[in-house]
């Protein structure tokens, strides 16, 4: 092989590798999320065991959870999954401003969810140490809340990155991962809402 040809070959293969890299990252992120979901499954399993076997489940003086505000929160979080999907479509069509507007909307909806969560926590008459009921409630909502916070931070980064010229030309892995993560956070919340609020 002449040296020119071999260099051309190498440059080419490094391009191929770049494509592979994006596919690999996506695959790897899926694997990671599947693994992460087992932590939630474990917490859910623990919750079910505690709730079905505990003799005094509700702490004294606690009636249960109010479902009205959390329901609003739920609607906001779930619809934000559709909003980020629209953002992705805009990015796909290379319409950066549309992308930014919808990503910002997602970000605000996520933040609203966190705010709603904080308000709810403030108003509760039980704490982390109020028996298994309090402990599991704060563990589940808190751990999920950390994931929402992570998602919002990722969206913030992706939002600012869109101002770097050409940032998403080569690869949209960052936004794909952010969006996938957001759907994941959503699905977890639906199960969580069912377990904690609906099944009282």
């Amino acid at each position: 092989m002449t040296s020119e040809a071999s260099i051309a070959n190498q440059v080419e293969s490094s391009i191929v590798e770049e494509h592979n890299e994006e596919a690999n990252s996506k695959f790897g992120f899926w694997v990671f999320l599947l693994s992460e979901s087992v932590i939630f499954l474990s917490f859910f399993a623990g919750y079910i065991v505690y709730k079905t076997s505990s003799t005094d489940w509700l702490p004294p003086g606690v009636e249960g959870l109010d479902t009205h505000d959390p329901a609003i929160n739920t609607v906001v979080l779930i619809s934000s999954s559709f909003v980020i999907y629209v953002a992705e479509r805009f990015l796909h069509d290379k319409k950066l401003w549309g992308f930014r507007v919808f990503l910002l909307t997602t970000l605000l909806m996520g933040s609203y969810f966190l705010y709603g969560q904080a308000v709810e926590w403030q108003g509760l008459e039980f704490g982390l140490t109020s028996g298994l009921y309090g402990a599991t409630f704060y563990l589940l909502t808190g751990f999920h809340g950390l994931h929402v916070l992570t998602g919002v931070l990722l969206q913030t980064i992706m939002f600012f990155r869109s101002f770097i010229p050409g940032n998403y030309d080569k690869s949209s892995f960052g936004i794909d991962a952010t969006s996938l993560f957001w759907h994941f956070v959503d699905v977890i919340w639906i199960i969580l809402y069912g377990l904690i609020y609906v099944w009282q």
């Binding site: 490094s14 694997v31 087992v38 563990l139």
Partner: protein, 559 residues
């Protein structure tokens, strides 16, 4: 134009040849080369093997007499806790990850792991885990004393009342080790699925790669459960919750479920790659293809699946209801099917082969024999009526050391000798290797065989003093333990001196078949000049068919 070098094209990945001791400094850098990282893992974890071994020496020193007279009882508790934790989290897991790191990309014909930087980050957490574990010796109250299981309520005691105590540091260390393992697992699974060379179909992958895949899948589904339990335990200790505090309505048994849901499969995270090592080594030293390769490959995945549904066999004596005991006894027994398949395949592979008894082969053969023995005691422990009697006795300690030492450590030694010439380009000293083998074999047998009778007699584990009627067996075991301590010396001497000045080994001293043996020793940074095009199944011994179609292009050709 012609002097654009490969280094420039491949950017920050350019490093000198791994393996050469004259470049030892690069082992102390944040290298992203899987071969450097592999060796970093192996050497770091070997240091912790020695530390964990030191603790074992102290344990065995205490147990050589029936009275508790060598160390304080609390120190004894700390010793077996740290011994078990170091041996598992800082030796067995990381050393196997190191071997896999080194070998998997070479074996599947890739230039590196899928995520080289993630790989490096995962490695550098290991020393952090080690420092955290060791630092617990310096906090008030000393290290955790609750055994490597950290069962509540013992692990919740915190007698000194400090927030930073041995148990908290232990939990942090285990958590970081878990993060590192998950990062590694994501990397391995992605690498094996996405980075195989052209023609390297799943059923052309060496059995070792299959076992690494099977083991890493376990990490992915198992570790999160342990993490969940660990988070709740940590909250119980530092935040005043009562998940596992029985006096406040908590459920300590739930912790056992979380713990064993991971920690039973975890023994297969150790055993599977070692099975893979056996499957690699026997064909080379018997000059025969691996018997039933496809079945052996798939049996690894079956083990992965079954390993997830047997964990309650560790909890037969935890007030477990009868139906649950029966169910898990049945699932536990069923694991012997895929495992038996492997043992049968290895036997058939070496049967009537032209055996060459070099050090790797000796370790591998003895490893399988030890494993058969451990399997027999394992079946005994898996059956409820036996386990109820010997639960928490030395019979259990004997059983699992036949696995973790007799099988896993033997397999690791076999692998280190077998791939040493590939990693370093030099040959180890066979004589020293044989000395090492016989010392290790004798030490293992003397140390761990007596644990079985003494366990059946009823000697409990985790005690510093015992009834004098058990003394005879314990003296034997202690002698064996010290012998094992001694046995590391010829190994270290061998590895260090032959790495520095051993004979040059050439590319393929064992005349082995496999992609890693087609390139130079040690392999260049990018492994393959051109990616190999694989055209045959592995283990073509005695078949005289080429493994790749582009042999000449794999290595750098002059000009």
């Amino acid at each position: 134009m012609a002097n654009i070098s490969v280094e420039e094209l491949s950017g920050n990945r350019a490093q000198p040849y791994p393996g050469a001791p004259d470049n030892w400094k690069r082992f102390f850098t944040f290298s992203t080369d899987h071969k450097v990282i592999g060796i970093q893992y192996i050497v770091t974890s070997f240091v912790f093997f020695l530390i964990g071994g030191l603790f074992a020496m102290i344990i065995r020193g205490e147990l050589i007499t029936p009275e508790a007279n060598l160390v304080d009882r609390t120190i004894y508790n700390a010793m077996f806790t740290m011994h078990g934790s170091v041996m598992l989290f800082l030796w067995s897991f990381p050393v196997l990850v190191g071997l896999a790191n080194y070998l998997v990309p070479l074996m599947i014909g890739a230039r590196d792991m899928a995520f080289p930087r993630l790989n490096a980050a995962a490695f550098w957490m290991v020393p952090v885990v080690g420092l955290l574990m060791m630092s617990s010796f310096f906090v008030p109250g000393g290290p955790s004393q609750s055994g490597w299981w950290a069962y509540p309520p013992v692990s919740l005691q915190n007698p000194t009342g400090n927030l930073i105590n041995g148990q908290v540091l232990w939990l942090l260390a285990v958590a970081i080790s878990g993060v590192s393992s998950i990062m590694g697992a994501v990397n391995f699974v992605t690498t094996i699925f996405k980075m195989r060379a052209p023609g390297m179909t799943f059923f052309r992958m060496p059995a070792f790669v299959w076992t690494v895949l099977a083991a890493q899948l376990i990490q992915l589904f198992g570790l999160p459960a342990l993490t969940a339990g660990a988070v709740m335990l940590l909250l119980d200790i530092v935040a005043g919750t009562s998940f596992f505090r029985p006096e406040n309505g908590g459920n300590p048994i739930l912790y056992q479920h979380f713990f064993w849901f991971y920690s039973h499969p975890a023994v297969y995270v150790l055993a599977l790659p070692v099975f893979g090592i056996f499957s690699e080594i026997f064909p080379v030293y018997a000059r025969k293809p691996l018997f039933g390769y496809r079945v052996v490959a798939v049996s690894s995945l079956i083990i992965t699946g079954l390993s997830a549904i047997v964990w309650v066999h560790h909890m037969y004596a935890s007030g477990t209801p009868g139906w649950m005991r029966m169910l898990f006894m049945f699932t536990t027994m069923s694991i012997s099917v895929p495992t038996g398949i492997k043992i049968f395949a290895w036997t058939a592979t070496v049967f009537r082969g032209k055996l060459r008894l070099d050090t790797p082969m000796l370790f591998a053969l003895a490893g399988v024999v030890n494993f058969v023995f451990a399997g027999i005691t394992g079946i005994m422990l898996g059956s409820v009526p036996v386990d109820i009697h010997v639960n928490n006795t030395y019979f259990v300690v004997g059983h699992f050391h036949y696995v973790v030492y007799g099988t896993v450590v033997f397999g690791i030694y076999a692998a280190l000798y077998h791939w040493f010439p590939k990693m370093t380009g030099r040959m180890y000293y066979e004589g020293l290797g044989k000395v090492h083998f016989w010392l290790t074999w004798l030490g293992t047998t003397l140390n761990f065989l007596p644990m079985h009778p003494v366990g059946l007699m009823g000697m409990p584990r985790r005690v510093a003093s015992y009834d004098p009627e058990f003394a005879f067996w314990n003296v034997l075991a202690s002698l064996g333990g010290f012998l094992l301590g001694l046995s590391t010396l010829p190994f270290i001497l061998n590895m260090v001196s032959s790495w520095i000045q051993g004979e040059k080994a050439g590319n393929n001293p064992w005349r082995a078949i496999g992609l890693e043996w087609l390139i130079s020793s040690p392999p260049p940074v990018e492994n393959f000049e051109q990616l190999p095009i694989v055209i045959a199944e592995p283990y073509g011994y005695g078949k005289d068919e080429p493994l790749v179609s582009n042999l000449a292009e794999l290595s750098e050709s002059p000009g």
